[in-house]
Symmetry: C2
Subunit: 386 residues, 2 copies
Amino acid sequence: MNNFRFHAYTDIRFGEGCIKDLNSAMLPFGKKVLLVYGGGSIKKSGLYDKVKELLSDFEITELAGIEPNPKIESVRAGVKLCKENGVQAVLAAGGGSTIDAAKVIAAGACYDGDAWDLVVDPAKIGEVLPIITILTICATGSEMNKNAVISNMENNEKLGTSSHDMIPRVSFCDPTYLYTLPAMQTAAGTADIMSHVFEQYFQKNTGAFLTDCISESILKTCIQYCPVALREPNNYEARANLSWASTLALNGLPTAGKGGAWTCHPIEHELSAYYDITHGVGLAIVTPRWMRYILNEKTVDQFCQYAENVWKIEKMEDKFCMAQKAIDRTEKFFKDCGIPMTLSELGIDEIYFDKMAEKAVCFGGLENAYIALTKEDVKKILKMCL
Amino acid sequence: MNNFRFHAYTDIRFGEGCIKDLNSAMLPFGKKVLLVYGGGSIKKSGLYDKVKELLSDFEITELAGIEPNPKIESVRAGVKLCKENGVQAVLAAGGGSTIDAAKVIAAGACYDGDAWDLVVDPAKIGEVLPIITILTICATGSEMNKNAVISNMENNEKLGTSSHDMIPRVSFCDPTYLYTLPAMQTAAGTADIMSHVFEQYFQKNTGAFLTDCISESILKTCIQYCPVALREPNNYEARANLSWASTLALNGLPTAGKGGAWTCHPIEHELSAYYDITHGVGLAIVTPRWMRYILNEKTVDQFCQYAENVWKIEKMEDKFCMAQKAIDRTEKFFKDCGIPMTLSELGIDEIYFDKMAEKAVCFGGLENAYIALTKEDVKKILKMCL
C-alpha cells in the first residue's frame, strides 16, 4: 500500500435545487466573474437564466462555445477576457470539457505567457483564480479534482495538465440537470467513470483493500444505474448515483494507497486528438481489448477479484475462464448501453496507429503502467479495436 | 436520497514516515503553536521528540494530560494557554479525545466567554484557530471532521459540539504509530468505526446506493483487518486499512444522501458520562441489542442487505432469520475481538438507567432516529445489555 495525500477540498453541494446557494457560495471570491459554458444547452435548459438571476448583483463576463475536447484557442480567449475585465473568479457551467477549459483559463489569467505553456508544463502553473462549477454532464470528475485536458489541433496534441490549485472551490451537482442528457452522452459518460476506476483499480500495488472495495462500489453503481438512466432519463435516483459515482471516481479515493501510470486514457487521448471522437466512446472500445491483452498469470487474480466483487461471478477452478467472463461482461455492458464498440464503426482505420501508439507510450509513460506497454503493444491493442 | 453538502477539506497525509512534512505543512498557519497530547504515550513512542525536532524553529506551548472522554477543565486550560501565548495554531498528537479537546480549545481561543458555552451551543462557535492533527489511535474519525465530544463530570454531561471551521486543516496518519496500541484499544476503536457506519447506514432514506456500498466497504474492512491487527499488532496492511476506514467512516461519505438522528451514540454517551467507560466498548455492547430491538417489518430489508453484502450470508426465504444471523455475527465479532459484551462485566447496574435514558432521548433527538425511541425503549435496550 503506497503512501498518499488526499486533499479533495471542493465544497460539494449536491441535490435537486442546490443552485439556490450559488450567490452566497460565490461571494467570498469576489463579484467579477467569468462565466464559461459550452454550446448553449444551458440556455435551452433555463440554467443560464437562473445563474444570471441568482448573480444579478455580480459583474459577469461570458465565454460561450467551449467545445467537447476543449481547444487551446478557447482557453486563450478566456484568459484574455479575464485580464481585460479584472475577473476574480471563474464559474464553469457544463461538463468536463467546460470545467477543464475553465481551470486552465483560471491559471492562465495569473500567467504572463501563452496558456499552452501551462498544458505542456504543469510546473509553470502558479496562482490560479478560484474556480466554481455547476455540473451538467457527469463523467470526468473534473468538478472535484486538479486535472484538465486540453487539445491543440494544430499539432494533434491532447494533453493533460494538473495543479493542486486548480481544484474547484465549490461545485454544484444537481442530478436533475442530467435529465436532458442524450442517451449516448449518458452511456459514454458512464464508460468514462468506469475507465477512471479501472485505471486505478488495475495497478501493481497490493494491500489497499478498502480502496479496492470503494472502486468496486463505484463500478457496481455504474452497472446498476446506467441502464436505468437510459430507460428512464428522469429517474432521480439513477442520475444522482451516477453523478456522485462520477465525482468520487476521480477525486483521489480510488487511488488512495495505489498508483502507477494509466493505460486506456493515454491511448484514447490519441484517438480523440486525431479524430475528435467522444472520449467515453473511445474508452469503452479500448478497455475490453486492453483487458484481454494484459490478462496473464500476474494479473489474473485482480481480474478474478473484479469478477467476483463487481459482477458477482461465482468462483471457478479455471481462473482465466473466470477473468475472461468478467471481461466479456464488461464489453457486453458497454454494447448494451448503445456504445459503438469498434473503431471501424467510427470510420477510423489504422493509418495513424503507428504515430498514435508512439505518442501514447511517450506522453502516457506506459512503461510504468499496470502492465508496461511498448509502442508495438499499443498498436496491437488498437488493431484489436478495429 | 437526501440533498447533501460534502466538504471534508482536511489535507490527509497518509503512510509510514509522512510526518517528515510536518514543518512545511504547518508553516502557513504561523509558528506559535499549542501542542496538545494525552497521557504521555507519545513520549514513550518517540513521537514527542520527533515533533519537537521537526518544529525546532517553532514556538511551542504544551498542554499534556488530555484524558479519555476529554474534560472541559482540560479545554479551559488549553484556551488559557492560547490566549496567554498568542497561539496561532493548535497541533493535536493523539487519538479522538486529544483531537476533540484541541478543536474546542482552538474555538475557545477566539471566544470571550467560557468554553463550555461552545459545547452546549455550537452556534456560539465563531472563528477557530487552524487545527493540525497527528493520529495515534484510529477510531473517532475526528482527524477529518467537524465534531468534538467533551465531558463535564460536575453534572455528568457528555455532549457533542460541531463547527465547519473545526475541521482539521492537515492530518498526519502514520499506520505504524498504531503498532503499540493495546489490544483492547484496537478492538474498541474498531467497534467505534463500525458504529459510526451503522448509525449512518441504518436510516430511513432510500436510494443512496453508492453511499451504502461505501458503508459496506468500511464495515468489510473492519471485519477483515481487526482480527489481523489483534494477532499481529505490527501488520502494516491491517493498521493502514483500519486507519483509513476510521477516517472515512465519519468524514461525510457514509452519510451522503442519507441522514437522521443517531441512536447508539447518544445511549453510549450516557454510559460513559456516568461511568467513564471506553466509548467503543459501550458501543459494542449496545449495538447488537439495539439491532435486535429495532428489527421489524420496516427494517428487515436493510438488515438483509447488511447480511448479504457485509457478512456474505446467503439469501434466505425467512428474512428475519437472515437478519438475526447478521446481528448474531456482529455480536460474535465484537466478542471474538475480546470486548466485554455486558454492562455487568463493567460493574454497571440499572441504578441510573432512568436518568440516562431520559438524557439520551432528549440530547440525542431519538424521536428522529431510524426507529424512533422513547425513554422506555432506551431503558429496555439498556436492560438487554446487563
